[in-house]
Symmetry: C2
Subunit: 377 residues, 2 copies
């Protein structure tokens, strides 16, 4: 994402980002250092570090800048806890306290590197869904040969419907346009063939809804074309999105590990490596997911960015920047406007009949997210 | 796959493989050359080349070995045709004639590099499902750090149920054990988290069925662990399997293309490449999917192997070998035995109650496969 491309409207609006200082493999040290670094670089933003005050101040290793404050919390939700139970038992946990800051209007966004399931559940339970949104979706910017592509849902809700995918397409389009800086974003559905309409019942239903909408829907993308596809927003069910996103991570790491091993193993590998250093750096830059900051949870009443549990200071710094950019772009407000104009379950700009066909009953998003146990999304 | 590991029972049984000589991007030339090469190497196998006799004999460029014969067919189903309509219109096409050879007991297996949707539809329509099998599944041997993993369904039927996944697990286990030579294969479900039972409703249902079965079920595998996971058989719905398998192809090609470009671009790239040549060859060997031969369609009344549309002689040779190995191992007969013993919808070795919970109504596999339009699976 190119932060410079964030729309200039409100570009100077100061925003307050509540950072869950206790969540993540390297919390609080790396979280605090990364968040404070962002605060120093962007004095107009305010950072609220949520967690154990003594440990936060120790991690900072000196006085905090004037635009950084500390909000105390009690317990921490560990990676191996079941989110729903943990949230019930730990109402003073850093993630709940951070969400409550947004709920009470004391912060504009939350960034967490903690337990993804707990982060999503806390957002839905404490902030709630936006009116008209049946289910929130977790998005990511997937690395492709032409730059990042907004890709959702990567894990908020399995068992989605065609109507859910249709709503994800609207939310992803707003994020692509207003935060990732894409002009007139195009939308595609991830499926098992490239012909429009080919796929399961869910994809077929979403195809009918998207065809009848004003979104720039360009049909299906299949697995082999995902890294080169022109679509700016790609939509799918959580099972497909989650497996694809994590398989990207697993497969690319495997290939790069094999290469590293061969450069080490070859008798003149270090020479070959030295000759190839600029090229390897170029490839590494293409696969640098840290600067994408993390995964926005779209469809809740507030800006929530969930970042990698393994994040260190650099990715946390980008995470705070992306959370601030999304809050500054008023993504939740834009989604609310888009979904409210045509009435519940009806989207503006849809041709008559398309919106009316949507289910009047929202899916039980809270139950679904809360039931999703485990760590990473 | 290590062909030497095929069980010695029946290892010497000669089998007859009907090869669709007209299907694939490089048909008939590469198909004929690859199939004839296998026939020369394995004199006990019989190869029946199905297609235009003049073109087949021209492609062979000389007299055919005594264990190769030609079966004439008329039309060819092109890659851009809708399978169901094409099969109705072209009853004399090479893929239909090849299936009919198996149906009439004149061949034991079919290999095709043609239109995947048409190949699957022809198999289901001409051969039919095995008794007790609700839906056939297309499998592949996915490349992992520990060797090939049997992975299904990669595209036969979207909108599968938990019961379908459960049947795929049984069929995949038989293929892993009897063709891929894995002793006591373990089974996992591909899902959005590694905790057993985490996933959509389909995965939860399959988990209950697998837990109650005698299969060696070891829980979930998530996307990031797929390339290193110890499971021998991984099961999922066609949407997930198809996207994952094709994303593997697209992403790995992208990374290798980037590397190739950097080796070309660097001033001393050719020197670096020369130094790294053995290592690059080792990596290439790991990603050599050609020797896996293709994708077995499991659950139909006959051995059917669908291989890559871009296959050239080398992959076709392996394809004929794998098709012959699967026929020799009597995979369809073993599936029929396994699914028939406990009665329809009931699998042997299941604890009481597990099988009984299966849907008595088979899913409309024919309709579903026939409705899948387009080229590659």
């Amino acid at each position: 994402m190119d932060l410079a491309s964030v729309r200039t409207t409100d570009a100077q609006r100061p925003v307050r980002v509540a950072v869950d200082a206790m969540g993540g493999d390297h919390a609080p040290l790396e979280i605090v250092i990364g968040a404070v670094a962002h605060a120093r670089e962007t004095p107009s933003d305010e950072v609220i570090l949520v967690g154990d005050e003594d440990r936060i101040r120790a991690a900072a290793g000196g006085p905090l800048p004037s635009n950084v404050s500390v909000e105390r919390s009690g317990s921490v939700i560990e990676m191996d806890e079941a989110p729903a139970a943990a949230l019930r038992a730990k109402k003073d946990s850093s993630i709940v306290v951070a969400m409550d800051l947004v709920k009470r209007g004391r912060a504009d966004a939350v960034l967490t590197a903690g337990h993804t399931g707990a982060g999503m559940a806390a957002a839905v339970l404490r902030l709630g869904r936006l009116p008209g949104v049946d289910r929130p979706a977790l998005a990511v910017q997937l690395i492709t040969s032409k730059g990042p592509m907004v890709f959702l849902d990567i894990g908020a809700n399995p068992d989605s419907t065609g109507e859910n995918l249709y709503q994800y397409a609207h939310m992803g389009t707003l994020f692509a346009e207003r935060v990732a800086g894409v002009s007139a974003p195009t939308v595609a559905l991830l499926s098992l063939g490239e012909e429009k309409g080919k796929g399961d019942a869910r994809v077929q239903r979403a195809t009918a809804l998207l065809d009848a909408s004003t979104l720039r829907f360009i049909g299906n993308v299949e697995g082999k074309d995902l890294v080169h596809h022109p679509a700016d927003v790609v939509v799918c069910d959580a099972m497909l999105g989650n497996v694809t996103m994590k398989f990207f991570e697993g497969l690319s790491s495997y290939i790069f590990d094999l290469l590293r091993e061969e450069f080490r193993r070859a008798p003149r590998g270090p020479i070959a490596y030295a000759l190839m250093r600029p090229g390897i750096a170029r490839i590494r830059a293409k696969f640098d997911y840290e600067r994408l900051g993390g995964s926005p949870l779209l469809g809740v009443r507030g800006t929530v960015l969930i970042t990698h549990g393994r994040s260190r200071r650099r990715m946390i710094g980008y995470g705070v920047a992306v959370a601030a950019a999304a809050a500054r772009a008023r993504i939740p407000e834009l989604i609310a406007e888009a979904f409210a104009e045509g009435g519940p379950g009806r989207l503006p700009g849809d041709r008559p009949g398309a919106g009316a066909a949507m289910s009047p009953e929202p899916a039980p998003a809270e139950a679904s997210i809360a039931a999703s146990e485990g760590g990473e999304p």
